[in-house]
Symmetry: C2
Subunit: 138 residues, 2 copies
């Protein structure tokens, strides 16, 4: 765990905080048009392969949980999972639910301009509760 | 391991085969302008989080080895690591070495049009030997 963790301003601006855990923050991209969660490990490392095996396993477990939720709630059929970090150096993993015909399909979401839609407060709470429960069951 | 593994024609067209292992194929994207390796697990799964823990660890180890090579040989400073699969359903993991000022920086490579450059045979052989050695040392 990193003492004095502070979220990069760009991530803070683009997302809602879903869960703040000891080792991770889990963020929801504000644009609801494409379901998109961002996992931020509390670390100074900038590459995912430099994290401990435990942390890498946790990320995979969380990703799986998120994928299942996206499949059920948003009928997504493919996950796009990526660590890019060209613009925001703080390590963050994109977990994006995709399906044929969505606003960017079959292109990637980065660099794709697509309409903005807000999440409802109710929806954010639901997502939060579901993921907290899912992550705790592991 | 998957019996009768067969590489997707699009991946076959876009890459040179670097290493054919029991559990993986390791491919080199033909365009040398940006160093880009693709790891293909021999599996019918389409999502990386559904692979066994062992396979996920192997992918991380290989990614780290590739990153070190790209840093040394091509002075890359950031890795872009992603499983997308919107167009090619066969599971494949992109491992791309990036640096400020490269042909797509700071954008992602997918959807970016950039000049084509061939790898020399010598360079491909060197990369192959280096990675085989690196992967075996794990």
């Amino acid at each position: 765990m990193l003492k004095n963790f502070s979220l990069h301003p760009q991530l803070d601006k683009d997302t809602h905080l879903l869960i703040d855990m000891k080792e991770f923050q889990v963020l929801l991209h504000k644009n609801a048009t494409i379901p998109w969660i961002i996992i931020v490990p509390k670390t100074n490392e900038t590459e995912v392969y430099n994290l401990s095996q435990d942390r890498q396993e946790s990320i995979n477990d969380m990703t799986k949980e998120i994928a299942q939720f996206f499949e059920t709630e948003y009928s997504t059929t493919k996950m796009n999972i990526a660590a890019i970090g060209n613009m925001v150096p703080q390590l963050h993993i994109h977990v994006i639910g995709r399906k044929p015909g969505d606003a960017c399909w079959p292109d990637v979401v980065w660099g794709c301009e697509y309409p903005y839609k807000d999440y409802s407060e109710k929806c954010i709470e639901r997502l939060k509760l579901h993921l907290i429960k899912g992550f705790n069951n592991k």
